[in-house]
Subunit: 337 residues, 4 copies
């Protein structure tokens, strides 16, 4: 961490600042230039509060040089994290497709979709019971009944289930869900993240709509700081100025996350564009970039879907996409199992 001092900063105050830092167990390097004078901080700066330093009279600016995340950082955990769920291993070297409807609508809908995506090669069933909708007048999900239907579909197909939790008050209700999904809008719902950190459940953490990668990893850090290291990162597109699509898949996130972190990375091409025909080209790009899996929306009758129908594949389209996915995962040397 570098502290940039104001011009003509009061010497007594600068000395006091240096002593304060040293008392926190760090070394300091003072370096006076013609235009700018800086203090370098050496040691564990992950708990240093930048804002507090910035408020000091003599400080012009503060620049962090090492990353503020530790548990999620590959620098301190060089080996890839692998997470085992229902007999499947998620992480580098493996490739999984989580498929299912945006929202659970009925037993018939969910079981039809679950059996079909399983036949096509999906290894996890996704489906929303509680839905975060922009409008209070849109369908909000079947809620508790939706969770029951997910359990039923799991019993029928053996597919582990992934579904979104929206509040720490729901933890008991979600106790037997296999992977708890945190949605983009809750990426910085810190009460929820902390509560998840005290469980031992795998968490699929979606990226916030305009979050930087560092902010995203800091949200993973919230969960991991509580003791739960089973975090799967899911890129689902970021907001840009483009108007032709809903979100913009950040493909660079895959190599960047793989370098900065040891956590598994999956891509959600359905939300990343919001358009069904783009799921296939974006899936191809995701596999080539090095992702560990995909999360894809599938519906037995997209035009009657109660949410996000425009981005859902029907059963046959999904089967076609899966052939392409399998051919390409094999080309990359990934195990789909």
């Amino acid at each position: 961490m570098i502290i940039i001092l104001k011009q003509q900063a009061n010497e007594t105050k600068v000395k006091a600042l240096i002593e304060e830092i040293q008392q926190q167990g760090m070394q300091t390097h003072y370096s006076q230039g013609s235009d700018v004078t800086i203090i370098g901080l050496v040691g564990d700066t992950s708990r240093v509060d930048e804002d507090k330093l910035r408020a000091n009279d003599v400080v012009a600016d503060v620049r962090r040089i090492s990353e503020p995340y530790k548990a999620a950082n590959r620098r301190f955990h060089p080996n890839d994290t692998h997470i085992t769920v229902g007999g499947h291993t998620i992480g580098e070297g493996f490739f999984h497709v989580m498929a299912g409807p945006c929202s659970v609508e009925s037993e018939e809908q969910l079981c039809t979709v679950a059996q079909s995506v399983k036949r096509s090669g999906a290894t996890f069933l996704r489906g929303g019971a509680f839905k975060p909708r922009t409008s209070p007048y849109s369908f909000q999900g079947l809620e508790a009944d939706g969770l029951m239907l997910l359990r039923e579909a799991r019993r029928l197909t053996g597919l582990p289930i992934v579904t979104e939790i929206m509040s720490e008050a729901q933890l008991d209700e979600f106790a037997d869900v296999d992977i708890l999904q945190v949605g983009a809008r809750n990426m910085q719902n810190f009460r929820l993240l902390k509560a998840l950190g005290h469980t031992d459940k795998p968490v699929l953490l979606k990226r916030g709509m305009s979050a930087t990668i560092e902010e995203w990893l800091m949200s993973a850090e919230y969960i991991m700081a509580g003791g739960n290291e089973k975090v799967i990162l899911c890129e689902r597109g970021v907001r840009t100025f483009e108007t032709m699509i809903r979100n913009n898949l950040d493909i660079s996130a895959v190599p960047l996350l793989k370098k900065q972190s040891h956590l598994p990375v999956i891509i959600d091409p359905s939300h990343a564009a919001g358009i069904a025909w783009m799921v296939e080209p974006l899936s191809r790009a995701a596999i080539a970039a090095g992702a560990d899996g995909l999360m894809i929306e599938v519906h037995n009758n997209p035009k009657a879907a109660l949410c996000d129908g425009a981005q859902s594949l029907n059963l046959d389209q999904f089967a076609e996409v899966m052939k392409e996915v399998q051919r390409r995962a094999a080309f990359e040397g990934k195990i789909m199992d």
Copy 2:
């Protein structure tokens, strides 16, 4: 609402679509062009699910023409909303300053600040007991003890208190808070918004970091749809590419919100820049643009603040800013009381 049909769309399917819309109580206007054919929907479209329409085989795109928010919409509620809290009226024609520390740190700190900002002309005391921090290693607030100190400061000064609620699970704990603040990161925490809609507490709803004005008003709509119409909108800067400041005050939001909605609009210049010396020029701009109030961070010793010290004014600086605020609110003909 306009539905744009695909080229050579199947006629039978188009007819089925038109009938389906008419059964929802809307009229349709069909208009065939050389390049493009459209269906216009006439009636109350606020409950029409665009996504569902988009998923229809024959639909190329859907464009909303009237706003999806109703309760928050000036079109249907032409008169300005005024909210009375602790004897003060918030809304058009009045001007209030809510001041206090980013986070409550101690009885001595909070009471010193509260008494001083009251003397300078603030009419509400702000202060965080539960703090949403980007890093799990940063100070998270005094929590329940912080709330107790806020009550104590209110008793001492008579200032009504504004403090942030982070989860619907906290509603009981916040029962005697005067204004419940929803932070930027929770603007789309729909569980929290719904729960707030079932109380009769004034809610100060901060804008999400990259939210559009429509999304923001839809979050207000979530609260209002539950029956609670006491919503105060608080602009606190949006994320842009600028690196010199933390956020970018969206000054256009003031006239836009005043036109589209009848709700009071407050500006938070402290978070909008993240730099103490910018609080004054941004406050001047906010008043001139037509805002109904300001929320300003004040600390008795900013360089020792446990959060956001860099953007906090000290007691004397705040007193100076308030003189400017009073002079300008008077120029605009606003009542500060």
Copy 3:
């Protein structure tokens, strides 16, 4: 095109507006709703000025439904455009790599790089003679001498050359360049685009740093409207909030452009990230997404490069990347020739 009328719009003025539109050769459909009344315009709206309509007293808003670009639009030109340069065909079904240094620095540098990239499989030589640098104090290119060296390298290797033109005043000087590149910062330098429209030179049009796809295609339209249909689109990353990389490759642009337009699409992974090690994963993603080629920066000694060294591959790294590119282009069934 849809015109949304203001509430209680003056009837006489609305009639005048409708007549004015009909006199421009378009049909109108008038559709009155409870909340909103609209006029649909049917016919060729590409020459209709939206801004002028918006200025009309009775108009609340205008929404374009068909694209404002014609020549670049696949709707009117369903077949893929193929451009032949120096015996190579650029466009769907083919795959080309344009490689070379960011800036031409010396005969030895350029010829070493040119011969090496040719051996590795590149089919075009790129290199900047005139450099658009953010700082006036940075190296601005060898200018005319740089062009001379490019000609020399072409003579030596047979590789056609691609280099950036910055002003219409340079057209004569660039007369024998094979492909004229328009840089991101000049995407809306309309004087330059118009002038290029009156040549018969292939133009490689880079996307502006924050341009939408529609704005980009409108810039292509400027060139094509002048009669020159040889436009190659080059995606080079857009600006986002991410701080770990310089730009963010917009991978969705590939399928979107392929659907909306018939023009060839090239990816520049060097500028898209600004980091050498990311060139390979982004190239893999670009190929899988369906791009028609890559533009890659290569330097014989990146750490001594006078510009953009951090994103340049050295000769051996480029040779390695090319093996991967060839293996993957073959997998996609593309011809590299």
Copy 4:
């Protein structure tokens, strides 16, 4: 400037790097930490090429601490710049309104507008002869004839004229224009900026649509590095995610520019929103924030305007806005003359 070294960087290479830097006349401070080792550069770093440093094998990252602009920097030029044009002084303490049509359309239109805005208190006449339009099919301006009409209107009213130059090839044609405007799309047209740097004409430099303040000041630096210090900065809104307006006025730019630079700052509220009724509230905010002037679009018949009619005020509306502007400039103690 701070160089962050890679972990386990080769010592010989690090020594070579340090020597290379010292040979450029700078001092270095080496500071080895447990996690991170850095080199601090002390001296004039404005000519140091960050990219070249980043390309070095042993370098992980480079962080600039002092600003890359010198001539435009208040640190080195503490006094405000004042520019005199046609007897008017532009800069701190003064306030000017530049008004006129988006594009010059006819003698009658221009002269009517010019006489009227002069009567209302404008001190400069703006008007476009060459128009940068997004579509090649939109009106492109009267070009040379437009310039002639501007001269005519100046002769008639005595108002100095401000008009946009689009290419360095036009300099002779614009020789007698009073203030040369560089449009947002040309902010990084470096050929044009360099050419303007070799004239002694005042230049009004608009901010690019997504440019940071540092990039904008670097474009000013291009002009000033050539010897022409008469640069006026004009904020005209930046691109954000907001869809209700065309651009978003960056009000923070006013205090930031006033702190970082000594150049005059004016605001264009017409382009900043793209909506006529927003010109007044944004003008109020601009004055309160400390701007040195406004540039406002005025048309005698906005609904017949050939460009940007939706954002143009008519003559009466402008007269009303000017009364408000005068009242507020007086309140701020500015001289309008």
